[in-house]
């Protein structure tokens, strides 16, 4: 890109600078090298703006998915109206949450609605549900209703949605389900509910997480081995493409992988490898990639405190996904190539500290700045009391919202698309990030793809090793964490404020949740038609043996006959087997 004569002049100037300015200074301070770096035009080799960046909303989307987002269109108006973005409404979901029995969660949702928070349910499920167990399973003891709501049957699902009727009915508000291994069962419940209410399932909106492969390397709520898990994913993909055109098929992303300890390169490469496995599943099922890829979304990638690198990561991720779809999967529809995610850069919850928690507010602002500079709303995520346990205090949420608002309206950081475009530093960093990710991605493809790289232990081991390397760097003070491994002396003080944790996870209700859920389950089993249940489960068992068969119709039948979540999952356990926990 630079004229050769100009390049020569700059190279000469750099040589002189190193000899006459940099080296002497490094020597004078008796250092092994300079603690800083500088990037001149020499850092950019073959920089073609239209090929590498292009305009926001144009392939390869490095500068962003569009010239401005929905939130930005109405930001000033929202400010004048005092609009609370975190409550959902206007076709979005509310705050991620859930706890207790279905009726506990329903009552919570109704309470939120009475406070004017009319967003759709953004459902967290308890670990028993996420792992395909009913509340009366020995595996579920102590876990029922804790990290989310307990769902044992279609009955429970219907109870929750008693909060969404009339103007908030499910053809008008979307739902998010953070569910992976039994996603097929929850999607079936959503369809069954629509049918029961006389609503065409084609009008259902929302996003099931439905990203089972990352569970094996980060989150741990898997049931079946990777191969059969991918088969079930394929079944949901095909079913959604044919019957639920407004429901996102999956919400992928390396967020969990990075939080489990992965490096940035691993985060991006493993995410893309997993996306490729899902895309391939659809293509091998006989669907044109452009028919279903537009309904693929991303949840988020990971984050860190290193904002330059996180901004570069986001630019590289958008470009890499676009290239993946266009060059490797021959997608033609631009919507297939868009990396759609609700947020971009952030610090990552694992960057927050339990020590001197208010510092997490400062940290989150760094993340918000990075987000504003990488194509998203400058969200200061997470609220400062994240490490203190489930439930954010009113104070932490207020500070979080105000920090975002300050970044939007006072710092005006989101008024410029991709402000780093053309920066010698940022463009070379973006190129390096993308290149490293492609190398790792191709290494995984050579192994046979994401499933193979899980089964042979490659991805899980890599993440575990990175986590340990990071811990060692912290304990050796090679990486610094303020208030944890440095500046912890007796002259430092812990600044605290009173917190009023919003009573979502009511401890009194928690105490009896398991017992109440078990009682409901017993009642269900007494009341339902046991023969019909056995019959539909047998049908599922039979079909599950055929790897080419789509199990969604059978699962839907089972759900409607009031087979429990575990009964359905157990049939598949018989046929698919259980995942082996990875030894690293």
């Amino acid at each position: 890109m630079i004229d050769p004569k100009e390049r020569e002049k700059i190279e000469k100037a750099e040589k002189e600078w190193r000899e006459k300015v940099l080296e002497p200074r490094v020597q004078r301070f008796n250092l092994p090298g300079s603690p800083t770096r500088f990037h001149s035009p020499l850092a950019l080799k073959d920089f073609d703006f239209l090929e590498k960046v292009n305009y926001p909303g144009q392939y390869p989307y490095t500068a962003g998915n569009n010239p401005f987002d929905f939130w930005r269109a109405y930001a000033e108006e929202g400010a004048r109206l005092g609009f609370r973005s975190d409550w959902g409404g206007a076709g979005s979901v509310g705050k991620y949450g859930g706890f207790g029995t279905a009726s506990d969660y329903r009552d919570y949702l109704k309470r939120m609605q009475s406070l004017g928070r009319k967003g759709g349910p953004n459902m967290a499920f308890d670990l028993a549900t996420q792992c395909g167990y009913d509340s009366d399973s020995p595996m579920a003891e102590g876990e029922v209703g804790r990290v989310g709501v307990a769902i044992d049957s279609f009955r429970d699902f219907q109870v929750i949605y008693e909060a969404y009727t009339g103007e908030l009915d499910i053809d008008k508000v979307p739902s998010n389900f953070t569910i992976n291994a039994p996603a097929a069962v929850i999607i079936a419940m959503y369809v069954a509910l629509a049918e029961k209410r006389g609503i065409p399932p084609a009008r259902l909106q929302g996003t099931p997480q439905n990203d089972i492969l990352k569970e094996f390397i980060a989150r741990g709520t898997y049931i079946y081995p990777p191969g059969p898990s991918l088969r079930l994913f394929r079944d949901t993909l095909v079913f959604c493409t044919e019957h639920l055109p407004k429901l996102n098929i999956t919400s992928m992303g390396g967020y969990h992988i990075r939080e489990a300890g992965a490096t940035r390169t691993q985060d991006l490469a493993f995410s893309m490898a997993i996306a490729a496995a899902y895309l391939r599943a659809g293509v091998e099922a006989g669907l044109e990639v452009d028919r279903f890829a537009p309904m693929f979304t991303f949840n988020a990638f990971g984050g860190s405190m290193e904002i330059y690198q996180e901004i570069a990561f986001q630019r590289a991720a958008r470009r890499m996904y676009a290239r993946l779809l266009k060059e490797r999967f021959q997608a033609k529809n631009p919507r297939s190539m868009l990396l759609r995610q609700p947020i971009t850069a952030h610090i990552g919850c694992s960057s927050t500290t339990l020590q001197r928690t208010l510092n997490n507010l400062t940290r989150s602002v760094v993340g918000g700045l990075a987000a504003g500079m990488s194509g998203a709303i400058p969200g200061a995520f997470p609220p400062f009391d994240e490490p203190l346990g489930l439930g954010h205090s009113l104070e932490a949420v207020q500070l979080q919202l105000d920090a975002s608002r300050i970044l939007i309206f006072e710092a005006r950081v989101a008024d410029v698309n991709d402000p780093w475009a053309g920066s010698y530093f940022m463009e070379s960093l973006t190129d390096e990030s993308e290149q490293a990710a492609w190398e790792e991605f191709d290494r995984i493809e050579k192994m046979g793809g994401a499933v193979a790289a899980i089964e042979n232990g490659y991805m899980p081991r890599a993440v575990a090793r990175s986590a340990y390397e990071k811990q060692k760097r912290i304990e050796k003070q090679q990486d610094f964490v303020v208030g944890v491994n440095c500046f912890t002396g007796p002259n430092e003080i812990e600044v605290t404020i009173n917190r009023c944790v919003e009573a979502t996870y009511d401890p009194e209700l928690m105490k009896t949740a398991e017992a109440r859920q078990k009682a409901g389950l017993a009642e269900l089993k007494r009341e339902r038609d046991g023969k019909a249940v056995a019959s539909v489960l047998a049908g599922l068992r039979q079909r599950a043996r055929d790897p080419g068969a789509n199990l969604m119709p059978n699962i839907l039948e089972c759900v409607k006959s009031e087979a429990t979540l575990q009964e359905i999952c157990d049939v598949m356990r018989e046929i698919f087997g259980l995942a082996e926990p990875t030894r690293v």
Partner: protein, 134 residues
């Protein structure tokens, strides 16, 4: 010089919580600090943990729980250990443990609670001090 028997540690993940970064990092760290470490992996029932404690003949049991089920699960594991005469093992806990729950856990028999930000070196030091290994 007589070779000292290495202190044996079992790192366990009881219940359904699938977050094992902390458990793995502690396992690797204690191994590098000179302990003999076995990591159980995910989804261990209280019975499986008690069996592992006995079969592996460990001196220390470290459990990691982030799901909020720590009071129930810790109680169950300690009960199993007592029933099988193996409750003399040094019991440590990590994960997400609210301050308010610490007294109850100590009362159950948990000797030390090490949550986010704890250097592994500190855990190693604690173990050595508790076991009188200098």
């Amino acid at each position: 010089m007589r070779e000292e028997r290495k202190i044996r540690v079992l790192v366990a993940k009881p219940g359904l919580d699938g977050h094992e970064r902390g458990a793995r990092v502690v396992a690797y760290g204690l191994r590098d600090a000179g302990f003999e470490v076995i990591y159980t992996g995910l989804r261990q029932s209280p019975d499986q943990i008690a069996t592992a404690v006995i079969q592996e003949d460990v001196d220390v049991l470290g459990m990691s729980i982030l799901s909020g089920a720590h009071l129930t699960l810790t109680r169950k594991v300690i009960d199993r250990l007592r029933e099988r005469g193996a409750a003399d093992v040094l019991i440590l806990l990590g994960g997400i443990v609210p301050e308010a729950d610490v007294p109850a856990l100590k009362e159950m028999g948990v000797a030390g609670i090490f949550t986010a930000g704890t250097p592994v070196a500190k855990i190693a030091e604690f173990i050595r001090a508790e076991l009188g290994a200098g």
